[in-house]
Amino acid sequence: MSEGAQTASMGRSASGILATALRYAAWVVLAALVLTLPKMFTSSFAFTLLSLMGISIIFALSYNMLLGQTGMLSFGHAVYYGLGGFIVVHAMNTITKNSLPIPLPLMPLVGGVAGLFFGIVFGSVSTRRGGTAFAMISLGLGELVASSALILRSFFGGEEGITTNRTKLLRIFDWSFGPQTQVYYLIAIWCFICVLAMYALTRTPLGRMCNAVRDNFERAEFVGYNPQFVRFLAFSLSGFFAGIAGGLAAINFEIVNSSYVGAEQSGTVLLAAYIGGVGFFSGPIIGAILVTWLQVMLSDITEVWQLYFGLLFVGMVMFAPFGISGLLMMHAPLWHARVLWRLVPAYLLALAAGLVMLTGVSLLIEMAHHLSTKTSEGPMMSFMHVPFSVHSFLPWLVAAVLVIGGYFFFRLTWPHVEGAWHTALMKAREHGSAA
């Protein structure tokens, strides 16, 4: 072995150790952040929101074990989330009734086991097929369970659902779990454990086999694994984590009802995972945070939030199919080569153009919405604190100019962005070869 090669390999291992250290450091930082986040905010709504985000992070990651990692598109993932939640509530009520010495923090595990159980049961019939057939079976199973939830009243509690009281279980360290802060910590710790576990899973041979099955079913078969069994395992485990998320939701809300298993819940987790990006482990986390935030907060800003939500989703599918994390990851080599700043001017320009166009679109939507639903309030409305009348011609003209002008402006800026991108990429490559 030549000297040069030796130093290179030493350098590699040194940088490898550094990368590993950084990776662990990232987890520590994340843990610290999770625990200190509440200290940064005073509003009690922060806890509610953070708790919701924690739950939906677990749920979205569990969904991505199917879609992103194993290539199974499910339209009924809420089944495992919801059934986990129902079992947890029933377990909590049984424990309270019989004064069993089981503390609340263990309850999500019950949900997980329930999710795993139903994952095994339904997975054994549905994972035998992949692709569209799997998607359709998941849709059918989802509808079946959701409709049954309204018929089987003693288990699902009909429309009202089933309620519980999280403070009545055995207390440890005198934590009652009444205040939202304490529930937040419970969710945060479970979230951390689950994220860690799911990340670790992607590094195991099973995780790798899942990727193989996703990428090429036949080849995975030739390697000697049973790809159907790999799918089945991934599905069951994904049910396990979904069940934990459902259990945490049940603890958080102290109520479960048929909407937990419904199509809307299944659709939301699909949107969250996809918008975040199914190709990267961090994608669903970003998506879950964003989508939860949008769901809770956007309805305050505009009544037609669902339209914006839908447009965002369609836009992502069309222009950024790898999600937000995919967009971020595209920039990773530039960041490493320290040439990312070169993109800033072009991005700012494009952003300005994009914002102009979006403002126009949003203005159009809001005016149309005002016209169709708020006739009694008169033609006056305000957009971004500017009052005007929807009956006059000017605002429509302004909106049209914004949309069309913004579009052409954007088209003009796009070559700059592409140019800047290529220059930066070339620089990055030089940097890479120089290193």
Binding site: M53, L150, E159, E160
Partner: protein, 426 residues
């Protein structure tokens, strides 16, 4: 990986920080009421009608000076017709300093809020919130699930059935009754009350059918109509609302089914249009605490002003009519209770409301029963069809309107309650 994590953290922090930077408005000169009902999605039309009604009522009270020098303000929260979301929105309302919550669409969500409020108040002494229910009619809310913090202004479904069967028992032409209801808690409550009460009051009436169909999932009711037809029923009792009501009537009209209809929510959005289209002239009866054309002066004045304000907000661009007289009672009694208690503390408002007697919107006396916080009020049976000179108001621009068929005095709507109320120690 480095970049991914950092970017993720930065993104997360930036995103999470936005809602926390929201201003928390805790202005002292307003009494805020959180209106938590669907404001988006398929059921939004119903939620919006309620929101407009409450905003109108707040304006009316404010024009008279509000209460204790403070103005009323209604803040809408969109519960997206989902129990979890309902609780998130209630939490959001409480966190922004609101301590009075009102909701009505869907007993399931009322149950969720009721439980939540009870637990919240237990865990947060001194920061109690109170829940005013204006339309969720599950009897359980004022029976086994009753709470000091819950007040209901709508007659519950058992009371309505009591009043309805009191009316039906004198109609000798009723011989065969068919029950068709939505398959969920409210529909169940309607059917079981109907079966029990008809049996007790008119044992000679034969119940020839007892149907439960899935909620809001049926697009074509003709199979059900065929069944009703085959049973030979002369009257149908239904608690259906929304599209389940209008589609049912449409299918009945298509098949030429000639029966009387006894309903809870014929007046709901789209209902009058469907009745007119089906040509069921004064053959559909509805039950409720008040309707246009009841013929009570102050109510007529109110109705006129209300319709003038919401001129084109109803179905098909017609004027919006007052669907919630109970909301009027609720807001006026809230104002009276605040004045009486000289406080806007929910605990004191609640105490002041207990047993309070008022003249209700459509005339006559009503009172808030202290035992279970159920408002007791006169109930009307009305039919829908062509109007006479005494009936000034039409509905949804159909030209047809309500006509009073019977009035059940408050005393005859009282049912016993199983409520054992835990009052907060004061």
């Amino acid at each position: 990986m480095k970049f991914g994590w950092r970017a993720k953290l930065a993104g997360a922090v930036a995103l999470v920080a936005i809602p926390f930077a929201m201003p928390v408005s805790g202005a002292d000169d307003t009494i805020k009421i959180a209106y938590v009902d669907p404001l988006s999605g398929g059921m939004a039309s119903i939620g919006e009608v309620g929101l407009k009604t409450f905003q109108y009522l707040a304006d009316e009270l404010n024009a008279k000076g509000g209460a204790l020098g403070k103005k009323f303000e209604i803040v809408g929260y969109d519960n997206k017709l989902n129990a979890q979301e309902t609780l998130v929105q209630v939490q959001k309302a409480i966190d922004s300093g609101i301590r009075i919550i009102t909701q009505g669409n869907g007993s399931a969500f009322a149950h969720a809020i009721n439980e939540f409020v009870a637990k919240y108040n237990e865990r947060n002494p001194g920061k109690e919130v109170i829940f005013f229910n204006y339309a969720a009619v599950d009897p359980a809310l004022t029976n086994e699930k009753c709470s000091f913090w819950h007040f209901r202004w709508d007659a519950n479904s058992d009371q309505k059935m009591e009043a309805l069967t009191n009316y039906m028992k004198d109609r000798k032409n009723i011989k065969k009754v068919y029950l068709i209801n939505q398959d969920y808690s409210f529909g169940q409550a309607v059917r079981s009350a109907a079966v029990a009460m008809i049996k007790a009051k008119r044992p000679d009436i034969e119940i020839v059918g007892d149907e439960m169909h899935p909620l809001a999932k049926i697009t074509d009711f003709s199979p059900y109509i065929a069944k009703i037809k085959a049973s030979g029923a002369d009257s149908v009792i239904t608690g259906n609302w929304g599209q389940d009501f209008s589609l049912l009537l449409k299918a009945a009209a298509d098949a030429g089914l000639q029966t009387d209809w006894y309903t809870y929510y014929a007046g709901g959005t789209g209902g009058p249009t469907a009745m007119k289209q089906a040509g069921l002239n004064h053959r559909v009866f509805a039950i409720g605490e008040g309707f246009a054309n009841v013929g009570y002066g102050p109510a007529d004045e109110f109705e006129k002003a209300f319709r003038a304000k919401y001129k084109a907000d109803g179905a098909g661009g017609s004027n919006l009519s007052l669907f919630y007289p109970r909301a009027v009672n609720e807001m006026r009694m809230l104002q009276a209770a605040i004045v009486k208690a000289k406080s806007i503390e929910p605990g004191k408002i609640g105490a002041a409301l207990e047993g309070m007697k008022v003249t209700v919107f459509d005339g006559g006396e009503g009172y808030m029963r202290a035992d279970d916080h159920q408002f007791i009020q006169p109930i009307y049976i009305v039919s829908f069809g062509e109007r006479s000179a005494k009936e000034p108001f039409d509905e949804e621009g159909t030209g047809w309107g309500w006509r009073t068929a019977g009035k059940i005095e408050a005393a005859n709507t009282v049912l016993p309650t199983t409520c054992k109320m835990n009052r907060p120690a004061s």
